[in-house]
């Protein structure tokens, strides 16, 4: 019994290490012309339910600050700085949306939208956020998986 548990822990650790090794660092993300990012940042499929939470969380994605999203109508006050995201999966390919989440400035030059997975080229970042991305690689994949569920057609 003990031995079995030990093996299980060993396997979990090995898996976690393997997964960690596959995470693409912010500086290593490959953008295509036009700003799309084809490769998953983690190799682990995004969880749309987790993505929905991250999307709404003010300290994580805080996406409602700027975007209307009818799927989250239970939350009051949706911002209108960016475009509404209803049906966003009908309008964009997954790779393009990943690129927009990672660093939208490669898709829309000069956009107000913050980059959610970037650490370089920033000025005067508050100490506690230095060297950190707004979202982790897996959180980006989770939000992306959630966005891909927003279909109207």
């Amino acid at each position: 019994m003990k031995r079995k548990a030990f093996l299980l822990i060993g396997a979990t650790v090995a898996f976690a290490t393997m997964a960690a090794a596959e995470v693409v660092a912010p500086g290593d993300v490959v953008f295509e012309d036009g700003g799309a990012v084809a490769q998953s940042l983690t190799g682990v499929a995004g969880d749309p339910a987790a993505g929905r939470e991250i999307f709404a969380n003010r300290k994580l994605g805080n996406c409602l600050a700027c975007h209307v999203n009818a799927d989250l109508n239970e939350q009051l006050f949706h911002g209108e700085v960016g475009p509404p995201l209803d049906g966003v999966a009908d309008r964009w390919e997954e790779a393009q949306l990943r690129g927009i989440l990672v660093n939208s400035k490669n898709t829309f030059e000069g956009t107000i939208m913050p980059a959610f997975y970037r650490t370089d080229g920033l000025n005067r970042v508050l100490e506690k956020f230095q060297g950190k991305t707004v979202l982790t690689a897996q959180q980006v994949e989770d939000v992306l998986a959630y966005l891909m569920t927003l279909k109207e057609e």
């Binding site: 949706h78 911002g79 209108e80 913050p114 000025n123 005067r124 970042v125 508050l126 956020f129």
Partner: protein
């Protein structure tokens, strides 16, 4: 408790009323700001020529809910006036080694300073520095009263600032941008358009490119400073201009400049000059 209820009412009202009215706003139904049925405030003015990207400068009052707007229309409803009353008491209070109060030298009362607020910040020839109201107040305290300098955004300072600024209420903002302040003005402009913080935003991204739109439950204004010190429902106190800059920078996860720093003086000069043509509203009321 009263304040927190007010906040809720204001937040709900801002969405309920402005959410519908924003696009429909025209010259006829534009609300007018007249304080105490007496002091007419200019809430819209042609933008100064040096603002390449704006046609019109607009008071932050315009972007607030009807309820918040009403609080500024009568001094009995304006919570900022409570602090002005405190400053009236402080005006006569003897402090420091010289045994003086403000009143000891300024025998004409705070009224002596009518017009000053409309020109700030401005170049102080004697000190060879750009002076804000805080600088003038602390110079008096340390050099003539022999008293301790007040903290930049402390309650004593913002209250006295409000009392002196109030003497210029309704006067047209006319901040000089040339001559000895020209370089500082350029520096302030540079800061205004520089993206900072983890969220990588400049002042202009929100307050020039997106004013009038909702950012969650809040409507973005032009970030005009003609109403400062401003009573905010959010923190139930008077707020200084540079204190607000600091708050904005923290919101975008940037390391703020220090209150009283050259950078914030330059930014204050530039932002104040963006309001030339509006009128002094101090103490204004915002959310």
């Amino acid at each position: 408790m009263i304040i927190s209820n007010l906040q809720r009412v204001a937040a709900i009202a801002s969405v309920a009323t402005l959410g519908l009215g924003a696009t429909a706003a025209s010259a006829q139904d534009m609300p007018e700001l007249v304080i105490n049925d007496e002091i007419a405030i200019t809430t819209h003015a042609p933008a100064p020529a040096y603002l390449e990207n704006l046609d019109e400068v607009i008071s932050g009052w315009v972007f607030r809910s009807t309820e918040t707007q009403a609080l500024q229309m009568d001094d009995f409803d304006n919570p900022g006036m409570i602090f002005v009353d405190k400053a009236i008491d402080a005006w006569d209070k003897v402090e420091g080694t010289a045994g003086k109060s403000c009143a000891a030298c300024h025998t004409g009362g705070p009224e002596e300073f009518a017009g000053l607020r409309a020109t700030l910040p401005k170049w102080n020839e004697e000190k060879q520095a750009l002076y804000t109201m805080e600088d003038y107040i602390n110079e008096c305290r340390t050099e003539r009263m022999g008293a301790e300098a007040w903290k930049w955004s402390g309650a004593d300072m913002t209250a006295m600032n409000a009392l002196i600024s109030l003497q210029s209420r309704g006067m047209t903002i006319n901040v000089a941008t040339d001559g000895p302040v020209a370089d500082l003005w350029e520096q302030g402009k540079e800061i205004y358009y520089t993206r900072v913080g983890q969220l990588d935003l400049s002042c202009a991204n929100c307050h020039e490119d997106n004013y009038g739109t909702m950012i969650r439950a809040d409507r973005l204004s032009q970030g005009q400073v003609n109403g400062f010190p401003t009573y905010r429902l959010k923190n139930a106190k008077l707020n200084s201009i540079q204190g607000r800059f600091k708050g904005c920078m923290k919101n975008v996860r940037a390391t703020p400049y220090k209150e009283g720093s050259e950078e914030f003086h330059a930014l204050q000069l530039y932002v104040a000059s963006r309001g030339n043509g509006l009128t002094v509203e101090s103490p204004s009321v915002r959310n």
